[in-house]
Amino acid sequence: MGRNIITFARIIRTGIVNFMRNLWLAVAAMAIMIVTLTIVLFSIIVNATFNNTVTQITSRIDVSLYLKDSVTQAQTSKLIEQLRALPGVQHVTYLNKEQALQAYERQNAGNKQLVQAINETDNPLPATVHIKPDSLNQINQIRAFISKPSIVALQSNPANDGGDRRVAIDKITHATNILRRAGVGAVLVFATISVLIIFNTIQMAIFNRRDELQIMRLLGAGTWFIRGPFVVEAIIYGIFSAGISVLLINSVFVTASSSLQATSFGLLDISYSQSFFEHHFWSLLILQLALGILIGAASSVIATRRYLKFKTTKRQSKG
C-alpha cells in the first residue's frame, strides 16, 4: 500500500472515531443541519406542487367566440385562419350550431328538463370557436384581436375570455412566486445558520484539542493530516442529516396519506407532492447528500484554517 493510501485511510478512521467520541457535540450540529435540509427538501416539493397546480389550471383556460347565425362558411374559415396565425395560440377548434348543441347536451346530461327545453325550441346555440392559448399571458393578445370591430361584428354575444378565472389564476401565480421567494429566503437563512453552528461545533472540538493540534504541528504533521479527520467528521454529520431529512419528509407523507381523506388543500395537491417525491426519490436523496456534505466540508475547512496557520508566515522587519 502506498503511503498516501495509508494516510488517507488513517484520516478517515480518525474522523469516524472522533465522530463517535464527540457524539453530543455532533447531535447539536446535526439537529440544525437536519432542519436546514428538511426545509430545502420541503421547498423543492412545494415548489414542484405549485408549478403543477398552475399548469393544471392554466391548461383549462380558453377563449370562446360565439358567432352570429348570419356568418358565412367563408367568413368562419377566414376567422379561424386568422386566429391560428396569431402568436401564442396553441390550437383553435370550431363547433357549428349542431355540434355546439351536442356539446351542450353532453355537458348537461344530468339535467333532463333543461335538455328537453332546449330541444323543444329551434337550436338556440351559436356556432362556437374555442381558442386555446399557449399560456396565461397570451390571453391579452387574443383578447385584443377579437375586440377589433371587424371581429366583433361577427359575434352574437360578447366573447367569454375566462376573465374571472384569469384573475384567480393571476392571484395563484402571484402567491406561488411569493412562496417560492420565501422558500429560497428560508433556505438561505437556515443554510447560513447551519454553517455557523457546525462551524462553531467544530471550533469547540478544536478548542478542546488545541494542545494536541499544536503537538501534531510540532511533530511535523501536514495540514490535511490534522484537518482531514475534522472534515470527515463534518461530512458524517452531512450524510446522517441528509438521510434523516429524507426520512422525515417521507414519514410526513405516510402520515398524511393515511390520516387525511382529502389529499388536496386548495393549492397544495398532496397526492401530487407525494408522487413527485416518490418519482424523484433518488435524485432528491443525492441532492440532499451533496448539500449536507458540502455544508459540512465547507464549514470544517473554514473552522480549522485558523488553527493550522503557521504563525511565522510573516518575516518581521529588519531591526
Binding site: N4, I6, I215, L218
Partner: protein, 229 residues
C-alpha cells in the same frame, strides 16, 4: 549540519533583540550543550531551528535546508527530519505510550506492520518496553520524557533538539534521560541540548555554548562551568 550566520530575532522592538547576531556551526554527530540563564535566548534559538519562529535577520541552514527558501507548506517536512524533545514533554494525553511513539510514524504514512515492528525497538532503547500500554499520566516525569525522546528518534532523525529535557526531573531521572541522549548520539545523531543543570554540564564533558543576553558568550570544546539559575 547546523549553521547559523549572524541570526537576530526581535520579538518586540521596545524590548531589544532576544538573539543578536548569533553565529554557530555544529558538525554532524556532534553533541552540543547550550547553557544560559532564563531569558538568555536559548529557547528562541531552538525555536528558530524548528521553525516555530522566523529570524528577523540572518541565515539558518539545517541539514542542507536553507530556511530562507523554505515554504510554509514544507515546514512539516523539515520537522519530520529534526527530532524535538520539549521540556514539558508534549505527549498526546489520550494515547498510550505506544500510540504516542507510533503517531510520529503515522504522520509520515508508515504502514501498520512497520509501526508494530519499529516502536517496541525504540521503546527498548529508552527502557520503556514494559510500559508500552500505559497512559502518559500513569508515568513518572522521567519516563514521560523518555517517551518523548522515543517519539523524537523513532523516525531516525539526523538532528535531535532537546530543550531542557531534564528541567522538570529529579537528578536520577535527569541522568536516565541524558544517558539516552548519549546513546542516540553514539548511534550517529547530532544532538543539541539546552540545560540549566550544572552537574550535567560538568559531567558530560561535551562542547558547551553559552548564550548571554542574546549573544554567544563562549564556545568551548569541553569545560567545567558554574551555571547560574
Amino acid at each position: 549540519m547546523i549553521l547559523l550566520d549572524r541570526v537576530t530575532k526581535i520579538y518586540n522592538k521596545n524590548l531589544g533583540p532576544a538573539l543578536d547576531r548569533v553565529s554557530l556551526h555544529v558538525e554532524p554527530k556532534e553533541f552540543v550543550v547550550i547553557i544560559g540563564q532564563s531569558g538568555s535566548g536559548k529557547t528562541t534559538l531552538l525555536k528558530l531551528l524548528t521553525r516555530e519562529e522566523r529570524p528577523t535577520s540572518g541565515k539558518i541552514i539545517v541539514g542542507g535546508i536553507d530556511y530562507d527558501k523554505l515554504r510554509d507548506r514544507d515546514i512539516p517536512l523539515l520537522r519530520r527530519k529534526v527530532g524535538t524533545v520539549f521540556q514539558d514533554f508534549k505527549l498526546l494525553p489520550n494515547r498510550t505510550v505506544f500510540e504516542n511513539v507510533a503517531f510520529a510514524l503515522e504522520i509520515v504514512g508508515v504502514g501498520g506492520r512497520e509501526i508494530k515492528n519499529t516502536v517496541p525497538k525504540v521503546l527498548d532503547i529508552v527502557n520503556l518496553k514494559s510500559q508500552a500500554d500505559h497512559m502518559p499520566q500513569e508515568l513518572s516525569g522521567g519516563e514521560r520524557q523518555r517517551v518523548a525522546i522515543a517519539r523524537a528518534i523513532v523516525r531516525q532523525p539526523k538532528i535531535l533538539i532537546a530543550d531542557e529535557p531534564t528541567g522538570n526531573l529529579d537528578p536520577k531521572h535527569a541522568w536516565d534521560v541524558i544517558r539516552v541522549l548519549e546513546k542516540i548520539n553514539h548511534y550517529g545523531t547530532t544532538v543539541l541540548l539546552t540545560t540549566h543543570n550544572q552537574e550535567i554540564v560538568n559531567k558530560l564533558k561535551r562542547r558547551v555554548v553559552t548564550i548571554e543576553h542574546g549573544h554567544v558568550g563562549s564556545d568551548r570544546a569541553s569545560a567545567q562551568y558554574d551555571v547560574k539559575n
